[in-house]
């Protein structure tokens, strides 16, 4: 009796401890970037592109990186969605638990583990071969490759949770697999699919290595798919690398902006997901 009590307590402490570590890291990270970055954060910072001498501590902002990041991660997430949803539906409704499906899942898990610099290098090689220059499009494609495995696996897992009875209810009135997928599965699972989208977007917007060679970096706003585009992670990286404390502070301010974007999008999608689950069958 006493031993059970003891074990129970040990596990309770472990669980609480782990939760505290996670929450504390989040608070510490946020605290650190806010403490270092807030003083440098100004309206100018988020509404202007860098002017001459910005990297020496003079006037300008990081609008180029904000816009660039939104374009890059947004574009990559849309591109990735167009490819991921059919794969996830195919895996769940058509091939199910065959060896082939397991092979596809294994490949995606391997891709998930590939470091993002490898996607960058791969994208760069491909672009050199095609004679393309660093551009928004190149960055979008590299980021989409990076996001793809996350999105497919998250959707795959979400669709797997759909009860068989629901699919059968659709088949039973003579619906095909495709009709069942588009009219029932996607509706029932809208919240899960949105979460997958968000996970992928989060990874995409935070990644520096894959866009370094493929999208490049520029002080100007991207005006076409074929011009280079700046991004927030690289803005953090470059500014942190300068020897000037004023510019380093701006790196932290850029990190604050990046964090706020992710936060706002997370909150917005939570709101949206509540609305999307109106019809969901428990």
């Amino acid at each position: 009796m006493r031993r059970y009590k003891f074990e129970e307590n040990v596990f309770k402490i472990l669980m609480i401890g782990s939760t505290v570590i996670v929450l504390a890291s989040l608070v510490l990270i946020l605290g650190a970037i806010l403490w270092r970055g807030l003083p440098a954060l100004s309206l100018e910072m988020i509404t202007q592109t860098p002017k001459g001498g910005y990297y020496l501590g003079k006037e300008g902002g990081i609008l180029n990186a904000i816009v660039g990041s939104l374009y890059l991660a947004g574009g990559a997430t849309i591109l990735s969605l167009v490819i991921s949803l059919p794969i996830a539906l195919y895996l769940q409704l058509y091939v199910k638990r065959t060896h082939y499906a397991e092979l596809v899942r294994l490949s995606l898990d391997v891709l998930w583990g590939v470091p993002s610099i490898v996607y960058g290098a791969f994208g760069f090689t491909l672009m050199v071969w095609l004679g393309m220059r660093a551009s928004l499009l190149g960055g979008i494609i590299a980021l989409a490759l990076l996001e793809l495995p996350i999105m497919v696996r998250a959707m795959d897992e979400a669709i797997a949770l759909i009860p068989t009875a629901l699919k059968e209810a659709s088949y039973a009135v003579g619906a095909t697999r495709l009709e069942t997928a588009t009219r029932v599965i996607v509706r029932q699972n809208a919240a899960g699919l949105l979460t997958a989208l968000l996970l992928a977007f989060g990874r995409g917007i935070g990644d520096a290595a894959s866009v370094l060679f493929t999208a490049g970096y520029t002080d100007r706003l991207p005006n076409s798919l074929f011009s280079p585009a700046a991004s927030l992670p690289l803005a953090v990286f470059f500014q942190l690398g300068t020897p000037f404390p004023a510019v380093q502070e701006r790196a932290y301010a850029s990190a604050v902006v990046l964090t706020v974007i992710v936060l706002v999008i997370s909150l917005a999608s939570r709101r949206l997901s509540k609305r999307l689950t109106k019809h969901v069958i428990q």
């Binding site: 199910k96 638990r97 009860p163 068989t164 009875a165 629901l166 699919k167 059968e168 209810a169 659709s170 088949y171 039973a172 009135v173 003579g174 619906a175 095909t176 009709e179 009219r183 029932v184 509706r187 029932q188 109106k278 019809h279 969901v280 069958i281 428990q282």
Partner: protein, 252 residues
């Protein structure tokens, strides 16, 4: 039997290495209610779900033998599966509305089969909701989510959804097992009302329900067909010893 609507010839079904049905040969008459009875695990649901080819969605199922719908082999190579499922509807054991409004649930089937929205769709939805005994209750809330209905209402909505594609056969897989007695009775009443228009095949492990509903009975025991015949004869004068023992409550 005057006109068998469905026929099984030497039907065998395996789940992997396990044989669920053994050489089942039987006929199901047109119109009226046929009850498939027997204890749990005797193959009732397996037999039922082979009739609209929903069984093959389960992994590892193998089927041999013939099932004829109006004389046509539904497992023939070039047959259109969705066509079979349109002709043979299903009412599942647990109510399972689709994630959409009450109206859209009923309109789902007709839309799949190319019916346009509009006045005639409204009438169609209303007619089938009424046929399922749900017309009055949802008259003013047809565009609310189906998930808001009670369990009993959800099952009647599922009945309306099945009826909306105008099937000639309706399968019921223990359709009242998840319902309270009042809701169950309402489903039974609707089935009784529908049995002059279509062939109804109901799986049940409740003998009392089979006695109330059935015009024709098929008794399965451990994957084998023991006895089949008109309800009056099978219940009152069973020919097989196992049927007699099952009806008396000695086995199963």
């Amino acid at each position: 039997m005057l006109h068998p609507h469905l026929q099984f010839n030497q039907l065998n079904i395996w789940y992997g290495a396990q044989r669920a049905l053994k050489n089942v040969t039987a006929e199901i008459p047109a119109r009226g209610i046929t009850a498939i009875i027997g204890p749990s695990g005797c193959g009732k649901t397996t037999l039922l779900k082979s009739l609209n080819r929903l069984l093959e969605e389960t992994d590892g199922v193998r089927i041999s033998g013939q099932i004829l719908l109006d004389g046509q082999d539904i497992y023939a190579p070039r047959i259109d599966v969705t066509g079979i499922r349109t002709r043979v509807g299903l009412l599942a054991s647990k109510p399972c509305p689709l994630p959409m409004s009450i109206y859209d649930n009923v309109a789902y089937g007709p839309r799949i089969h190319g019916r346009k929205n509009g006045r005639s769709m409204d009438q169609r939805v209303e007619r089938h909701l009424r046929a399922a005994g749900l017309g009055e209750e949802v008259k003013d809330r047809a565009h609310e989510p189906a998930s808001q209905l009670s369990t009993g209402q959800q099952q009647r909505l599922c009945l309306a959804r099945a009826l909306a594609v105008e099937p000639e056969v309706l399968l019921g897989d223990e359709p009242t097992s998840a319902l309270d007695p009042i809701s169950a009775q309402r489903i039974e009443t609707q089935l009784q009302a529908l049995k002059n228009q279509m062939t109804i095949v109901v799986v049940t492990h409740l003998l009392r329900q089979a006695r109330r509903l059935a015009d024709y009975v098929i008794f399965l025991w451990m994957g084998e067909l023991v006895e089949a015949g008109p309800a009056a004869q099978l219940f009152n004068a069973p020919r097989d010893e196992r049927t007699r023992a099952y009806l008396a409550g000695d086995i199963g």
